[in-house]
């Protein structure tokens, strides 16, 4: 119990963003990710921030939940920001001990933090929050389909991906449960010496591995019992056909990216 991780858990809905084709969202997410990461000027970042707000509005997901997607990497963001504070030289602003903090350092640190946050918010809005794992897996399968000519087992790969995603929450729950059980037996995860902690970790990882193998076995049997890998070729359930909104959205994403690259030269 306690707080649930958002990893791999989408929030159902019927908003504009929810109904977009997963392939479009996938491509748009990659485009926007690159654009956001390569944006330098505050004006460009302001435009992307506006765009991100439009996305939030279109997705009908509460701002609090959107912001929570940043939480898992909050330390990374703070770290990147602090590094910029200390390393970028320019007009001295004030000093901490022997280290000079410059105006440029401060702005570049804040911009970096903004950049990473925007990137995470956009990707999670487009993918994890509004798209079911199976739709993502399906989209990947479609996008990778040309690789079939190179004898890449695309369908098996996407089945593997979707099962992996299906089991993320299950395994997270199991890890939590094991952690509680082993703590009750005196295992340590955050106090005590290195050896104690290592033993604590082993007591979680070994059973987790063992049970994953057992699950894999069970699942293989369950799949076999439902005729997987049989003689007939599998039906592809979701015939994906692009709608007007998909073209509209893709155009917008392309325009935003183009703007970023052109503006910065």
């Amino acid at each position: 119990m306690g707080k649930r991780s958002l990893l791999g858990r989408s929030i159902p809905g019927t908003s504009f963003i929810h109904r977009l084709d997963a392939r479009v969202k996938f491509i748009a997410a990659i485009l926007l990710m690159i654009a956001t990461l390569s944006s330098k000027s505050p004006i460009v970042l302001a435009v992307i921030s506006l765009w991100a707000m439009v996305l939030v509005a279109l997705s009908h997901i509460r701002v609090r939940i959107v912001l929570r997607s940043v939480r898992p990497i909050i330390f990374l963001i703070i770290f990147a920001m602090v590094i910029h504070f200390f390393t970028v030289r320019g007009t001295p602003l004030f000093r901490v001990g022997s280290i000079v903090i410059s105006l440029e350092g401060l702005t570049s640190g804040l911009l970096t933090a903004l950049r990473i946050s925007l990137m995470v918010i956009q990707t999670s809005l487009l993918l994890t929050l509004t798209t079911t794992p199976i739709a993502i897996a399906d989209a990947m399968e479609r996008l990778l389909l040309p690789l079939k000519h190179l004898h890449f087992p695309v369908q098996e790969f996407s089945m593997m991906m979707s099962i992996a995603m299906r089991f993320v929450p299950t395994l997270l729950d199991e890890a939590t449960r094991l952690m509680k059980a082993q703590s009750s037996r005196g295992a340590d995860f955050d106090t005590g010496g290195l050896m104690r902690r290592a033993r604590g970790l082993v007591s979680i990882l070994v059973p987790l591995f063992v049970s994953s193998f057992r699950r894999a076995d069970d699942l293989a049997v369950a799949m076999e019992a439902r005729c997987y890998g049989g003689t007939s070729s599998r039906t592809t359930l979701y015939a994906m056909k692009l709608q007007r909104r998909d073209y509209l959205f893709l155009t917008a994403a392309v325009l935003i990216s183009a703007f970023v690259f052109l503006w910065q030269g």
């Binding site: 119990m1 306690g2 707080k3 649930r4 858990r9 989408s10 929030i11 159902p12 609090r64 939940i65 079911t132 794992p133 199976i134 897996a137 979707s162 099962i163 995603m165 299906r166 929450p169 299950t170 729950d173 449960r177 094991l178 509680k180 059980a181 082993q182 703590s183 009750s184 037996r185 005196g186 295992a187 340590d188 104690r196 033993r199 082993v202 007591s203 070994v206 059973p207 063992v210 049970s211 057992r214 699950r215 069970d218 699942l219 049997v221 369950a222 799949m223 076999e224 019992a225 439902r226 005729c227 997987y228 890998g229 049989g230 007939s232 070729s233 599998r234 039906t235 592809t236 359930l237």
Partner: protein
Amino acid sequence: MIQFERVSFAYQGNEDRENIKAVSDVSFAIPNGSHVVFLGRNGSGKSTVARLMNGLLLPDEGRVIVDGMDTSENAFIDEIRRRAGMVFQNPDNQIIGTTVADDIAFGPCNLGLPAEEVRARVTRALEETGMTDYRDREPYALSGGQKQKLAVASVLAMQPEILILDESTAMLDPSSRRALMELILDLKEKKQLTIVHITHHMEEALLADYVYVLDEGRIALEGTPADVFDQKDCVLSLGLSLPTHIEISHRISDAIGVPYQPEKVTSFDGAVQFVRESLAKVSDRAFFDNSLEKEMSQMTLDQTQGDHSLGHDELSRTTARIKDDFPLTKGRSPKPLQQGLPVVIDVQHLSYAYEGLAGTHVQALQDISLEVRQGEVLGIVGHTGSGKSTLIQHFNGIIPSSRGTVTVLGEDLSERKIIRSIRRKVGLLFQYPEDQLFEETVALDIAFAPKQMGKSPEEVAYSVEKAAKRLGVDHLLVRSPFDLSGGQRRRVAIAGVLAAEPLILVLDEPAAGLDPAGREDLFDDLATLTNEGATLIIVSHDMEAMAKRCDRILVMKEGRVAKIGTPEDIISSAVFLEDASLDVPPAKRFLDALADDFSELGTFAFDAEDATQKILEAAQFMRKKNPAATIDAPAIRHDILSASKNNELFSETAACSIKHDYLPRVSASDTEHEDIESCEKKASSHG
């Protein structure tokens, strides 16, 4: 039609170990449209038989034929698996899709059906299982019962003719179990399905047309449910139990010498009627016996007794006879709460809330206050989601108390520094604890807790041995925990918590998934702990086991304490139990059904034995009050004679084919008293 023709199967052992024979020379035929149940203790080969049915396993010897198709023929395998759909035990490990609808679509997609057809089948399967509202949910957001319904829906989408349930109800709570069985019976009716059901729950066996009992890979007993449960001793020696109402009927029949009627007592109502009629007969029979006795006393002159004392005598004699046939349980009667003993757990106004899925606020506990005294056995019951697990996780600080106080052994748990030392003293065992084993050997695994708690090597060795002995796993110490059977692993895991020598032991569903005999043995072993002054807290859905084992029971409902009291206080009111979504234990239901017949019956019994005794006492009391009418003795003699003839006939139909040499292995006293899962309502209403 599923035919097994002299089928044998062995699992390939590891390099150094022999092959493990799972099924030996089994033959049977399951006709279309029938409902067949397979029973047997853990490891008797039930699941193997199930997996042989749809070609998941192929026989080493013999043939398995489904609707004329041999499972070893590759060309038939897809068609066989389509026809014979299977629902497995673990709800989590059989859902493949990432949403409910996707999972249902998985099978039909594998058949290569057109997408339109697949979608239509998904919609239909959702409707048929009442899961339409959950169509786009992801599996983790479903309850255990819903996951199993989804598994049934996924099989239905294949349009099967046979539904194989491999212990599909084992991991569910009683109400979800009933809901699933209701669904299955409904589907069987509507779609003329053949049902093959593997289970540990005897009540579920009563729903069947035919029952097979497996033991060591062979069919040890077979027949209609009435025939099988007629073979009382045989059933018990196979590690099974009798449904409570059948056990009461057996006991009453033994006690007052009225012939047992297997067909009649199979249903709950039939059993009640049987007991009612038998007791009506016995009040007459006292006269009948009385007249016999008089004939005898004429020869031995000094034997002259009044009607009254004779009747009385008969009943006490019969009570003695019951005890021979069904030895007394090692179960304990609840001891009154002694005010003098120290309070070991003191919970005051505890509340706890957490953030659930998609930011919802879940109030798990609401103003709980509770005192647990040293040496008592406290049971905690409540519907799924009533806050039981959350509460027990407060007892050793796994969940820090946020509002209210938890004081354990005099220490306030909000003081985080003392948590380590508290965990030494409070052992907490979660559900399915066998999943937490990780060391190379059983000995090392059991030693983990005492080692972590800083005991010296000698102390560790001593505690390991003591804990292993208590749970009967001392002969397994050098084995790898991963090579053991499920029941053994469960015991090793419990020993692993006991080795820390906790003063308080908290167990969450310790017996879930074990066969009846294994369940009873485990509870017996745990009960010995309290003799040494330890305090035991058990969380369970099994109302009968709780009534029998606990001194006090705490009933939780929607995060609050609904009631706390002796088992009698809690169980006496069926209305209260139903209000808290709990099962009414079958022994109590039996008494309630007879309440109108006997004014002095009372409303509470621990188990079948207790219920029998109470019924006999009540009958005796009634007879004292209004002496029985004179009746036609010879007519009754005739009645009884012909009835007992019938009885013999029935016994022959279900010949017990257990080999003599392994009969004594399970001593009668170990298997005698079964805690019966309370799936009874179903059983009786369908019986």
